[in-house]
Amino acid sequence: MYPLHSIDFCPICGGGLCGIRIIGSLPADSNNDDSADSATATASATAADAQNSSLAQPHGLVICDECEAIWLEPDVSTVHQYPDLEKAASPVNGMPIWGDGSRWASMEDIEWLGWTEAVNPELDAELDADSDSEEKLV
C-alpha cells in the first residue's frame, strides 16, 4: 500500500514517500485499465457527480504514506497539514483520502492533474516486483 508515483521522501518523518493521490474519479476514468473495480467506482462516482459535481470534483493531493502529512500542491517545500487522525479527509472537499473514492494516482491521473513534471521516476513503484504487490495498489 505505497504510492505508485511520488515526488520526494517525506521531509517531516523521513521514512515516508510523498505520493500523489487522487481523490474522486476522473471523468475519463473508464480509459483507465486498472480493473473492474475501477469501472465500478467510476460508475458510482459518476452518479455522485451528477448529484453534486462540486463536492465530487476530483483533485490531487500529495500525501506521505507514513505520517500522513498532506500538501495541496506537488511541492513539499510548501505548507503541509495533517488530516483528522481517524477520519482522514481531503482539505479540499472533505472526501475521505483513504476510502474507495480515492487511490494512489496512476500516470494517467497525474497527467490529468498536470503534475507530471513533479514526479520523481526513481520513486516509482515496481508493480511486478513484489509478490504482495496488490497491497500497494490501493
Binding site: 500500500m1 505505497y2 511520488s6 521522501f9 517531516i12 518523518c13 523521513g14 521514512g15 515516508g16 514517500l17 504514506d65 507514513e66 505520517c67 500522513e68 503541509h80 497539514q81 495533517y82 487522525l85 481517524e86 482522514a88 475521505p96 483513504w98 476510502g99 474507495d100 526513481e122 520513486l123 516509482d124 513503484a125 515496481e126 516486483a129 513484489d130 504482495d132 504487490s133 497491497e135 500497494k136 490501493v138
Partner: protein, 240 residues
Amino acid sequence: MNKKPYSKNPLGSKSKAGGIAVIVLAGIYSLVAPQLNTRFGWDLPAISADAQGNVRLAEKDSSRTGEPSSGDRSSTGKTSGTYQPSDSSKTKSPAKSKPSDGKEIEGQTDDLLHGLLKEVSSNRYQSPEGLLYTPGSAEGHRLNHLERHTKDMPSRPGSHGVFDGEMAGALKTIDRAYQRAKKNQKTTKKVDDGRTIYTVDMGGRVGYVGGRDGKRRRNPMARRVRIVLDGNRVITAYPM
C-alpha cells in the same frame, strides 16, 4: 466451564422447593447483575431460560468481549477502523484462548493483544508505556499500518524499516523506545503542528533496513526507532 452456580439436584422430595429457589435466585440475579456490571465494570453474563424452562447462562456478546464477530472477519480491515491481526493464532496472549465450550474463563477479561496491548475501548489499544493504537491510516487501523513494518517490502522505493519479532516484538520495541524518549535518553525530538517525531537510539539491533535501498545495501541492521505521535497516539513507527 466447571462452575455451575445454578445447578440443583432435580431428584427427591426437595425438588419442587429447589426449583422455586432457583427461579427466585435467578430473578434476583437478573435484577442485580446489570447494576453490578455498571458499577464495578464487571461483565457478568445474562441468564435466560430455554424452551424447557431451564435457566442458563447466556453466551457473552462478542462485541463486548473484544472478540471480532464472524462478520468482522470477512472484512479486509482496510479503512474499516477495525484491527484484524493478519495471523490471529500468533497474536493473542495465551490467556485469550477459550476452552472448548466456547465460553471465556472468568478472570481472563484483561487479556492482552499481542501479549502487550490492553483494549481500553472498542478498537483502541493501549501499551504499558501509554501509547495508544487507534483506528486510522490507509490500512484502517494504526496496528494494521504497523504490520507493514514487520515484513520487508523489497521493491518499495527508498528504505523500509522492518522490526524483529513480528508484531509482538515490534510493539515491545516501540514501547521501549518511547520509554527512552520520555526520559530523553539518546533521543532526538521534533515537534511539528501537533505531531511529535522521536528518533531513539536503542543501542543494539531492533530490526533491519529493507525496501529497495535496504536491499541494495544487503539489509543492514537497524538500531534506531522513529516514532511519529499525535499526543500519545501512534501514527507510525519503524526501525532505521
